[in-house]
């Protein structure tokens, strides 16, 4: 039996230090970026060249390849944020609040894009840009929540201090989002007979599924890459704030 004299640092502890986190994760950035670009190229090729039009929706089905990944990310990113919030409050991981902050604008943008592409899809298929359909409406509310969180971050003078408070709010939001989703569904079905847009949708043939999944992967990797990069930037920004404040004391008379 051997006893390790120096306890081996787990990756969890290693990335707990901002500098080490950057050092540990920086090598991932380029491969991620390249892979993302490749996937996008492939996805676009599949989406435009190599896939047929849908028998019902015609060519507009191609909007789906950007709409659905964005819609998925809009929810996934909130999950990332909620998990980071837990990390901030419960495990007190120093990188968790950086992750939480970096994710918010990304999530907001993906949500906005889901709405945008959905609206452009709605016009040719239902003849309107916007319908108060349950799913669309709850996506809109999600966008408001994202924007509220961003406004909250920006409103704090001191980002380090803001983190745990924003985390509390993010978690409250995470509990509330299912309630919102349920109530919005209830609301729109109460007033409207079956929506034009059925939840299950038509069963999709593989020729549609393939580009969908590739785009899916591409957008997810895009998120991961951007998330990592903004985390690095955020770490540097905090270092700047610290240095500036250090100057504050060094110079007092």
């Amino acid at each position: 039996m051997s006893i390790q004299s120096t306890p081996k640092q787990s990756w969890w502890n290693r990335i707990a230090h901002p500098g080490q986190f950057v050092a540990w994760s920086a090598p991932w950035l380029w491969p991620l970026a390249v892979l993302t670009a490749l996937l996008f190229a492939m996805g676009l090729w599949l989406a435009f060249i190599d896939s047929p039009q849908d028998y019902q929706m015609g060519h507009t089905v191609r909007i789906m390849y950007v709409h659905v990944p964005n819609a998925w990310l809009s929810q996934f990113v909130y999950g990332v944020m909620a998990l980071s919030a837990l990390g901030t409050l419960v495990w007190r991981h120093p990188m968790a609040d950086v992750s939480m902050k970096a994710a918010a604008p990304l999530g907001a943008l993906f949500t906005a894009l889901a709405l945008f592409t959905g609206a452009l899809w709605g016009r040719p298929t239902w003849g309107t840009f916007w319908e108060w359909d349950g799913r669309m409406t709850s996506t809109l509310v999600l966008l408001f929540i994202y924007l509220g969180i961003i406004a909250l971050w920006r409103a704090f003078d001191d980002q380090l201090r803001a983190a745990r408070i924003v985390a509390v709010f993010t978690l409250v939001g995470a509990i509330n989002i299912p309630i919102i989703k349920f109530s919005v569904d209830w609301w729109s079905t109460l007033h409207q007979p079956a929506s034009v847009f059925r939840a299950d949708g038509p069963r999709m043939p593989p020729s549609i599924l393939a580009p969908l999944f590739v785009m899916f992967a591409a957008f997810t990797l895009l998120f991961l890459a951007l998330h990592l990069k903004s985390m690095h930037t955020e770490i540097k920004r905090r270092r700047i704030a610290t240095l500036q404040r250090k100057a504050a004391q060094g110079h007092t008379a």
């Binding site: 950007v66 592409t117 903004s230 920004r237 240095l243 060094g250």
Partner: protein
């Protein structure tokens, strides 16, 4: 150029919008990273000088 049917405009706008937004996001992320890095470097050297 491939056929996109009667609703080509919507498809193109959708992809264009997404492309612009993603490009903007990537650009802004990189710009922000560069700006922050430069500012940090400036501060570090200023500190080192003292």
């Amino acid at each position: 150029m491939i056929e996109l049917g009667p609703h080509a405009a919507f498809i193109i706008w959708a992809y264009l919008g997404v492309a612009l937004a993603v490009a903007g996001l990537v650009g802004w992320t990189l710009l922000d990273a560069r700006r922050t890095a430069r500012k940090l470097a400036l501060l570090e050297t200023r500190r080192a000088r003292k």
